[in-house]
């Protein structure tokens, strides 16, 4: 019964992890470009008292089934789901959404390259396109101070209109990065993801090529969290937590009976 208690405790811990992941998803339900995560579980090792198919007599008879008792559950992975979020029109010229699999490339203060789906861009004092945290886009695009309007086309070309000139001037093109296995990216917070050995190296490309997706100016990508799914998972997690706690109290009561054997 000792075993039963620890096994059930692992079940409670797994459900706790699940609820942690769900509450992070729910709290980011309105975060631009947020990707929901999911916890997946696997059974732990088994104590094998007898192997299936073991020989049970000198005559060579085999036992039809083994005797194995499992030792609970562990978390296999908590990985993000890179499904496209809905695009929402904002009317802001510097809001850009990616429709496809690509990521914006951002330079962090530490000099590393980070990747994001949140296209809430702004212009800093040097005219650079930056994230709300002030980290510049890697493409190194500078908007002239006297520009009256900025136009970002689907292929990432940034055109500006300046007073005294007719037509527009192209100041650069936004590049996107794609990954073989985006689920292997490391979430860094602040809507940023970092490249890892599991994600594979970033492949740079222009919007519209290699499945990187096109850019939509004046739109933002909503988080892809489905509230209904999360609520359902939360109910399931709570119920599973309850039955596992019942298993612990049952095992405890049985132990108590065993203790009461000796007068």
């Amino acid at each position: 019964m000792d075993r039963a208690m620890w096994t059930a405790a692992s079940g409670m811990k797994a459900q706790q992890t699940r609820v942690d992941v769900i509450s992070n998803n729910l709290s980011n339900v309105n975060t631009t470009g947020f990707k929901e995560s999911r916890a997946d579980f696997q059974d732990q090792m088994y104590q094998t008292q007898r192997l299936p198919g073991a020989t049970s007599s000198a005559a060579g008879t085999q036992v039809p089934t083994g005797s194995q008792i499992g030792l609970g559950v562990s978390t296999a992975s908590v990985s993000p789901l890179f499904e496209q979020g809905n695009l929402e029109s904002t009317g802001n010229n510097l809001d850009v959404a990616i429709e496809g699999r690509g990521f914006f490339q951002i330079q962090t203060p530490g000099g590393e390259t980070a990747y994001t789906r949140a296209g809430t861009l702004e212009i800093d004092d040097q005219g650079r396109l930056v994230t709300p945290d002030g980290n510049p886009l890697l493409s190194g695009i500078t908007i002239p101070p006297d520009a009256t309007s900025v136009n970002i086309s689907q292929d990432g070309t940034v055109d500006v209109q300046q007073p005294g000139t007719t037509g527009t001037t192209t100041v650069g093109q936004i590049q996107l990065a794609t990954f073989t296995n985006p689920a292997g990216l490391e979430a860094r917070g602040s809507n940023l993801f970092m490249e890892t050995g599991a994600s594979g190296p970033a492949q740079q490309g222009l919007p519209g090529a290699n499945g990187a997706g096109t850019l939509q100016q004046g739109y933002l990508e909503n988080s892809n969290v489905s509230v209904v799914n999360e609520m359902t998972s939360m109910i399931a997690a709570q119920r599973a937590y309850e039955v596992n706690s019942k298993a612990i109290s049952t095992a405890d009561e049985m132990l108590q009976m065993a203790n009461n054997l000796k007068r």
Binding site: D40, F41, A76, N181, V243, R263
Partner: protein
């Protein structure tokens, strides 16, 4: 009353506590992808022993109930839609085949697959998922689609990348659970499951019926109580007869 009878009750209590371990493991894995519940049925052994006594040797010594074996319930779990292309589920008796760390074959119902950085289809621990021929699958993209025959397609590529097949055990009793959602079996025991279908964008939930497990738990707790009561009664009876024998005048 035989002196050994207290051990009969003890073995009953031990068998029940093993069963509790197994119920507890089923409940802990109630949300584990592709988990198959274990049944631990020693009652059959008990009644068989009783039948033997009745039929052949009424004076045979008491047979102690022992756990004969665990039996895994391989019935289908519910398929849940996940919106993730790399989630696969088997509908039917088959298992996915993966290449285990030691180079051998292992089987799983957990189709929560990932793409390695080299574009290879892996399980959640990074083991290669194998196609119908036993080679790794390299879709190179997480945008996979499956047809009813198990052929895997990716965008921008003509024809199927590979064909994934499910394998079933001729004798499911010979499959051994290994943890990590893996099963092992002799390759000779495994053959392609013709009537199984693999679905993309779905995961199979555990087939644990929590209500059934709760009832089993209540039932076995009561039986355990009865066994411990029996042990106490036997103990009391012996101590009483011991006292009577020691002082026969009373």
């Amino acid at each position: 009353m035989q002196e050994g009878s207290i051990y009969t009750a003890l073995s009953g209590a031990l068998a029940l506590s093993r069963r509790m371990d197994s119920v507890s493991n089923n409940l802990a894995n109630a949300n584990t992808t592709g988990y198959k519940a274990d049944r631990l049925d020693f009652e059959g052994v008990l009644s068989q022993a009783q039948a033997n006594r009745a039929a052949r040797q009424p004076d045979a010594p008491l047979t102690f109930p022992v756990m004969q074996g665990t039996e895994t319930d391989y019935s289908q779990g519910t398929l849940q839609e996940t919106r993730r292309a790399l989630d696969f589920a088997v509908e039917g008796e088959g298992f996915f085949r993966v290449r285990a760390e030691d180079g051998g074959l292992a089987y799983t119902r957990d189709g929560h697959f990932q793409l390695g950085s080299d574009g290879r289809l892996n399980d959640s621990e990074g083991r290669a998922v194998l196609d119908d021929q036993g080679s790794p699958i390299r879709p190179g993209s997480d945008q996979v689609t499956l047809n009813r025959d198990g052929q895997i397609f990716v965008p921008d590529r003509q024809g199927p990348v590979a064909r994934i097949a499910a394998f079933r055990a001729q004798d499911p009793g010979l499959m051994e659970k290994q943890g990590d959602n893996l099963y092992r079996s002799q390759p000779a025991n495994m053959a392609e499951a013709e009537d199984s279908e693999i679905r993309g964008g779905h995961l199979e939930r555990a087939n644990v019926n929590t209500m059934e497990e709760m009832v089993t738990m209540m039932d076995l707790q009561r039986r355990y109580q009865a066994m411990t009561k029996a042990m106490r009664t036997i103990d009391e009876t012996f101590s009483e007869s011991g006292q009577r024998l020691a002082s026969p005048g009373q």
